[in-house]
Symmetry: none
Subunit: 144 residues, 4 copies
């Protein structure tokens, strides 16, 4: 399992693990029934304490993303792929909603927000031919 954590990030390490496992499942890198890295393995790989991994795995079990096979290890649950794909959408939607609501609350006009979105979209998805804004907008200054 190829995952990476940043001990100095704003999210707790265990949360970073939880999210990355979910992303891996959502993206299909882990399928239902697959075994996941053992606690000790992952702890060594990430150079963190096993308890931190245990905590992440436990949360995933509580959400029924992982299932414990006693004495054997943890496997991806049957409903996990669908759950993870759904959660991913919901999370993005919620966070988009938050930031847009804040944008409005702070007095920003829709025009400004649209420009900001196109700008960031172009950074995040450079390969896509600017899909949300196929109008020939000249890259004007984005000011207050």
């Amino acid at each position: 399992m190829l995952l990476h954590v940043d001990p100095a990030g704003d999210l707790p390490i265990y949360e970073q693990i939880v999210r990355q496992v979910k992303f891996a499942i959502a993206a299909g890198a882990l399928a239902a029934g697959d075994m996941i890295s053992s606690v000790r393995e992952l702890a060594k790989e990430l150079a963190i304490n096993p308890n931190t991994v245990i905590r992440a795995y436990r949360q995933l079990q509580d959400e029924e993303i992982l299932q414990s096979r006693r004495g054997t290890g943890l496997v991806v649950g049957p409903a996990a792929p669908e759950t993870c794909r759904r959660q991913r959408i919901d999370m993005i939607r919620a966070r988009l909603g938050q930031v847009l609501a804040e944008a409005r609350q702070s007095g920003l006009h829709d025009g400004h927000v649209g420009r900001l979105i196109r700008e960031q979209l172009a950074i995040a998805f450079p390969d896509a031919e600017d899909d949300a804004s196929q109008t020939p907008t000249q890259p004007e200054e984005i000011s207050s």
Copy 2:
């Protein structure tokens, strides 16, 4: 000053105050030179610990958004409106960038993201005629 605080929210209370004051200034609800609620007043109004208000005001002073006027109280600094407007843009831009980066990392295609953006934009800015996507997009289902 009409601000509202959620003690169960994900952000610290003092941070919520800081942001809302900045938003109020950016939106023009508070102008340079205006006086701001006293610590005791605001603490009572929001039913929170005065120390929390003090901490928020102190941070605003450190950023030169507020200025102490001896014997009178705190007033909005002369450069505050411009500062707040600039910060607001930077913040929205940064958060948009974050959420879009995560969307990509989680394996979402640009098409999905575009739909989600238009969806949330329509919620946050219901009056604007859907500005970031002036193409005649059919309102298809947004699924996985």
Copy 3:
């Protein structure tokens, strides 16, 4: 908060805490909005490690039984009483179903099972006038 744990019991200590808190809420000893013993307090009271209490409290938070008020402590969530009362019923129902199913699977006749039930019922509810069943009780709804 009057709770008691048995470190030698079959259930983990943290689980015992979780259940007893739920029982206390279901029974009305703790109402929505009430603050709960602090982690350190309870840990000292029960002579166990604070981490064990934290784990129990965290699980209760995950189930939205408790809510965290940053810097203040944990309070009983608004929906907790109803949730706990419902869970209590569901748990008893499930365990009854299990043991009865096992009784049948092991070849026990309904007559035997009936006798065992009356016997244990008389022990658990000695004050109730005999077993709860030979009266022609109208089959009302089984609710909270």
Copy 4:
């Protein structure tokens, strides 16, 4: 031998085997002197580790439910049927006592509990005309 094991269940696999063998003997499906599946056979049939079967069989030998017949395999011991029938009663009694005690501890009234019992009884023993209790049965000995 028709037994079934759930690797994700709450009981250890070896315990599940032990119980099911005992149940089969108590119910008469296995009689004294009958041979039992070999370790390898059962392990293959259940798709589990032979060590797990060994552990289950060993426990059954320790309880003198099974006896080793040199060069032949394991057979059901002479006293096994009676032992299993007795244990079955004791187990059901104990578990009933537990769940009823918990019901009381959680603040449930005897009326609720009575209803729950009748409800689950009707599910577990659908053929018996309602619950076994409203007949004035003389409290005979509870034997096999």
